[in-house]
Point group: C2
Chain length 462, copies 2
């Protein structure tokens, strides 16, 4: 039997996990694996970039899980960096690859044949077409190279940072800039920062950030950027006003990077992400698999496709692909929309549906918000935590949860996420056997208090 | 309609929660509530006593959730301290109460009638009949008064503490004595400390404790205590040797305190705890309810009755009683055996069945133990954590989990407990949408890694 050829487009979490998993199941005599990455790095933690910029992580090499040479030496996976797939011919079974740094005498393009193909092209930052958006001093935070650029810019001794966008990257970069001693302004177009939370919980994030000395401005729509005498960015202009800035960080979210897939005829879904079945096989092509930030996932609560770009999903999906394309069987079971972040010691987490999601899904709901503490109140490390639960009226089924609090708060979202995953009612949740001891929780864990109150409020009496 | 009379025997977590919940649902014109507590305190956190002794909690009053006067003033609940129920006449509907500190002219006993009765008599420490066990300087840790006695004894400037028993109270008291600057020896009769874990995980606890300078001696069966010239305890004698001690703490576990109930004819179960149905009504008497450390609970995994004395269960059960005895409907759904503790920064947690429990239950199982970190490895606060999962062969159903690790480890047991509660397989668990960001977890949470490895090992291949 001829050796099968696997080509992977994209050498980050999803692609390289698929490669490794496939190799664990099929040796190099049976399966040749080529991974093509247009950037300088394979398998790095993009989520760690804010912590490198803030100085908490000293060395960007620590964010790299594995180098191309390691893939070759340990697993005979041919991981090639600075090589970009620029075209896919699904009929002929080949990709066209552009060498971004060809050696002298090398062709700038070549063709690689495949029997099976994995699309792991990731996401691209939303980058609006605002005037001045290309000025020096304005940065997106997507790649390690972006991070290096920000660190370079910090050497110019900037005083004022403006972060555009109040989502995960926005709040994490606000922390990073604050940690570097800059005066930080966060501009958010919406009603509150952290629009992945409901506005009432977003308001708590805002108040806490303001208490940390971060200026938070909401309802601020950016219209452009002004340059200073040195040609670098000097201000962010919004519909309302002008915000002086020596450095600007854009945190406007990302979109699935699917232009290559779309050109090749691979089917996309309503979110713009690649559609797959549960085995992470594309719906359009038997021999094509997809994983990571370029795909859309099934949301187990809304029952709708969603685009949730997160390294943890990318890893799981890549593993599923690696098992299936080597003849095994594994499925990606979907998501419930769990996410977590922090700004200094303020922790933020969410899972499931927000109020607006419930309305869109046609679910009538009740909300319950409780203020509690992370440990028994008399322990010295006790910190405030707020838990909000959303549950369906009548059935009492949990629909979503959000947590804002200080150290030790946010990982409690896992309890809510697993309850949600199992379609528990708030009454069932209130009976859960969660761990209690004074240094770890009040005698009623905050999650249990919230579930109990939700149950009581649905019943209309204690 | 005559005012109904409710008598509660025991004024701690279970009893006073039942009282409060009943009062929330029925006013004083409809229901008179008398709670009888033989000790000095109502509603205090016994679990907090080690932290008061260690000095972490400065004031024992902080451990008291609510005082008798507060119950009277806020809720018209007649909570009486230093009044001990010494007899129950279920046929006549009355209890005999002994005043432990009668006022001049007061009778030393009186009778109180009831329509409904709540038994919340708690647990009593196991106190073997070893010679010398009553010597000054030997303490149990059950009540606030016990805690006060230890603190008094610490004023005598003891140098060497011996803790007898390596369970929760034992390891917490080893920490407390260490925090007070004493040289600490922990004597455990079994193979490893923390017998609520499997021995392989107990060995990790032991190694960590030894690394903290706590001497841990296992297989040491105490036979008695020797007195010094001052008449106080001077040594603990075991079958193997003699351990000098200026202070001795007994942490030998507790038993349900059911002698009063048994004398009255209330039915006990195989664990020695009071048997109840799901509404926490005793099986033997329609008008008698029971809650807290004196009852046995249903274990949802083993399907057997178990005695799990924990404040969190006492609170939940008390609430269920308070709802039901006022005509509502609530059930206590049972336990999965979740527990958590710490020794300095070493965190310990467990849920579900241990290996020996699986064997006893007739369950064939596989185990998986993984070493991981609490956060992404490159974050400075990253700490080691070990997760062990036990799953049923063939079905892959989760049967239990144990965690030993440093700060940020043990509350992850909640994720395992909820998976267990919902009878998830390890394969299902591996797909769970748990929160990921570098400061909170590796990209595969340690719990997910363990589930994935368990799945792979059950399947016999990656």
């Amino acid at each position: 039997m001829a050796r099968e050829r696997l080509v992977i487009v994209g050498g980050d979490a999803a692609g390289m996990t698929a490669a490794s998993q496939a190799r664990r199941r099929k040796g190099p005599d049976d399966l040749a694996i080529v991974a093509l990455e247009r950037g300088h790095w394979t398998s790095y933690s993009a989520c760690g970039i804010p912590y490198w910029i803030s100085g908490v992580v000293a060395d960007p090499q620590r964010l790299v899980a594995r180098w191309p040479e390691e893939f070759q030496e340990r697993q005979q996976i041919d991981a090639r960096i600075l090589e970009e797939v620029v075209g896919i011919d699904l009929g002929a079974g080949r990709v066209t690859v552009r060498r971004l740094a060809p050696a002298p005498g090398q062709d700038s393009e070549y063709v690689e044949g495949f029997d099976q193909l994995v699309l792991a092209t990731g996401a691209v930052p939303v980058h609006p077409d605002w005037p001045g958006a290309d000025l020096p001093g304005i940065f997106g935070i997507q790649t390690l190279d972006d991070g290096g650029d920000v660190i370079q810019a910090l050497r110019l001794d900037p005083r004022r940072a403006v972060v555009v966008g109040g989502g995960y990257i926005g709040v994490e970069m606000a922390e990073a800039m604050g940690a570097r001693g800059l005066a930080v302004t966060l501009l958010e177009a919406g009603e509150q920062p952290m629009a992945t939370l409901d506005p009432d919980m977003g308001a708590r994030v805002r108040a806490a950030m303001e208490g940390m000395g971060i200026e938070v401005r909401t309802g601020e729509r950016v219209v452009g950027f002004a340059a200073g005498a040195d040609g670098r960015v000097a201000a962010v202009e919004t519909e309302q006003g002008t915000f002086p800035a020596d450095i600007v960080v854009l945190g406007l979210g990302v979109e699935p990077n699917t232009s290559l897939a779309a050109e090749a005829g691979v089917g996309l879904g309503p979110t713009g992400g690649i559609r797959t079945n549960r085995m992470m096989r594309t719906l359009s092509h038997e021999q094509v698999w997809a994983a990571g930030d370029c795909v859309e996932s099934y949301h187990r609560v809304s029952r709708q496709p969603v685009h949730v770009p997160l390294g943890t999903h990318a890893n799981k999906q890549g593993r599923v692909v690696g098992i299936n394309l080597t003849g095994g069987y594994a499925t990606f079971p979907g998501v419930v929309g769990t996410a977590i972040s922090k700004v200094f010691d303020l922790e933020i987490a969410r899972t499931g549906l927000r109020e607006r999601d419930c309305r869109a899904a046609g679910l009538r709901y009740a909300t319950t918000t409780v203020d509690s503490t992370t440990t028994t109140g008399y322990m010295p490390g006790s910190e405030p935590v707020t838990v909000k639960l959303i549950s369906e009226v009548r059935t009492g089924r949990l629909l979503g949860g959000q947590i804002v609090g200080r150290s030790g708060s946010a990982k409690r979202i896992d309890a809510i996420a697993i309850a949600l995953w199992n379609a528990m009612t708030v009454e069932e949740m209130a009976g859960l056997d969660l761990a209690y001891a004074p240094p770890f929780a009040p005698v009623w864990d905050p999650v249990l208090i919230a579930a109990r109150k939700a149950e009581e409020s649905l019943r209309g009496r204690p």
